[in-house]
Amino acid sequence: MSVPAVHEFGYWWHRYRRTWRGTAVISIANPLLFVTALGFGLGRLVDERNSAYLHGGSYLAFIGPGLLAASAMQMGFIHGSGPVFQSARVGGNYRAAVTTPMEPSDIFTGHLLFTAFRATLDSAAILLVLLVFGAASPAALPGAVLTALAFATPISAYAVSTDRPAKLSALFRFVIMPLYMFSGTFFPAEQLPGPLRALVWLSPLWHGTELCRGSGPIVIHVLVLLALIVAGYLAGRRSYTRRLTA
């Protein structure tokens, strides 16, 4: 880690200290409300029927880690899109940062480190409540953080070079939301009809969800997420440099 990146981390940390209350509400309350409504409410309907797909487990225990991974993805999107886009605009914080000894790649690294820090903190808070509900295991934390970064890194790389915020909301609507609905968060992916079941392998969220549940070939899931992070990081170093030194 190059030292200048610490400055960028510091900038975001400083902002966070002023606004953490508001952001915590959105990123933590949101998944917890879902767990309560779906795990307990809908869970009663599901558990009554006792579907073979759940292998005897409760719906709450199924959906807990699923929502943890899904909210990690959302964190990755939230931190990797709006703030990056705003900062890269004329007058944004990146514009001020490049006039200091920091290089665009330091800015990228520093911001990502902060995202990782936020994702760890918020995921841990969610996980804590899930533990109380008996709806997840502590081992799910690294999976959640990896998932957040697997989204934040490539999304930052894209957001820094985009010219219109509408593109980011389109990304959310047409990529993030469909992933959210069909990556094994709300129901086991084995339930999907044949060809879709193969497609789910392409979904990074599915790998994250499986990691949080501790099911399937763990090494492969980790490798997929790491590959995304590395690819996103390489792309981001280039796109940050191109945008901020143009």
């Binding site: 009663r44 309907l45 939301m177 609905m181 129901f187 999907l192």
Partner: protein, 253 residues
């Protein structure tokens, strides 16, 4: 009706950005598909619907998603978009320099929100009919129903927007809307809750909105439809009075 010209303006804007409306029904349709192939399989059919026979889970959820879409569309128009016009774009300043009054602005924006809510609900109705999720011809009642829901929430949105100070405040709206979406019997029948909780949930405007659409969509013609309609009409009328007065004061500062 000089307020009608606001509808005209919005139509002009959406002529450029019509895809926003398409995107608005994209999300409930995603939910529906996810439920159809996914959660529906886990749940099977729902038996807790009062006065009705067991129904497929997707058919149970579809009208609730429509009610939510009508609510969100209307609220989005009169809170998020209206706040932008008030504070950032200052759209209303240019209108108030013309013979239009603050009252015209309030009525016009609400009328537009109702109109677009109706349009979105028609599109959604077409989709769920195509997916075979409509159980009864009475389902056609969901169109005026969605318009009424849009009216109640659009007026409520105008009241709310007059209290907002900055963009940060917008998240408090989310903080109310999301739990309402999750707990107002969207995904499971009221009977899941213990009795005291039921009494609370029944007072939620979204619960009444869902009742208004779900009963006719499932072919259950119960007096609860009437109760819900009266509830929402009263809410809309009350909010309308307050909205016109408060927005007038906000704009004339």
């Amino acid at each position: 009706m000089s307020a009608a010209v606001l509808v005209e303006r919005n139509l002009m804007i959406y002529k450029h950005t019509w895809y926003v409306l398409l995107a608005e029904i994209f999300e409930p349709i995603l939910y529906l598909l996810s439920i159809g192939v996914g959660i529906g399989v886990l749940v099977g059919s729902v038996t807790g619907v009062t006065g009705g026979s067991p129904v497929r889970y997707a058919a149970f959820v579809a009208p609730a998603l429509l009610a939510t879409a009508a609510m969100n569309g209307a609220m989005n128009e009169t809170t998020f978009l209206m706040f932008g016009k008030l504070k950032t774009d200052r759209t209303y300043e240019s209108m108030l320099a013309t013979p239009l009054s603050e009252r015209d602005v309030a009525l016009g924006e609400i009328a537009w929100a109702v109109l677009r809510g109706t349009l979105v609900s028609l599109a959604f109705l077409a989709v769920i009919t195509a997916l075979g999720l409509v159980e009864s011809p009475w389902a056609i009642l969901v169109v005026p129903g969605a318009a009424l829901i849009a009216f109640a929430f659009a007026t409520a949105g105008v009241v709310v927007v007059t209290f907002l100070r900055d963009w940060q405040d917008m998240q408090y709206i989310q903080l109310v809307m999301l739990p309402m979406f999750l707990f107002a019997t969207t995904f499971y029948p009221l009977s899941v809750y213990p009795r005291p909780v039921q009494l609370v949930v029944q007072w939620l405007p979204l619960y009444q909105s869902i009742e208004l659409l779900r009963n006719p969509a499932l072919g259950v013609l119960s007096p609860r439809i009437l109760v819900a309609a009266v509830y929402l009409a009263a809410m809309g009328a009350l909010c309308l009075t307050v909205a016109v007065r408060r927005l007038g004061r906000t704009l004339a500062a």
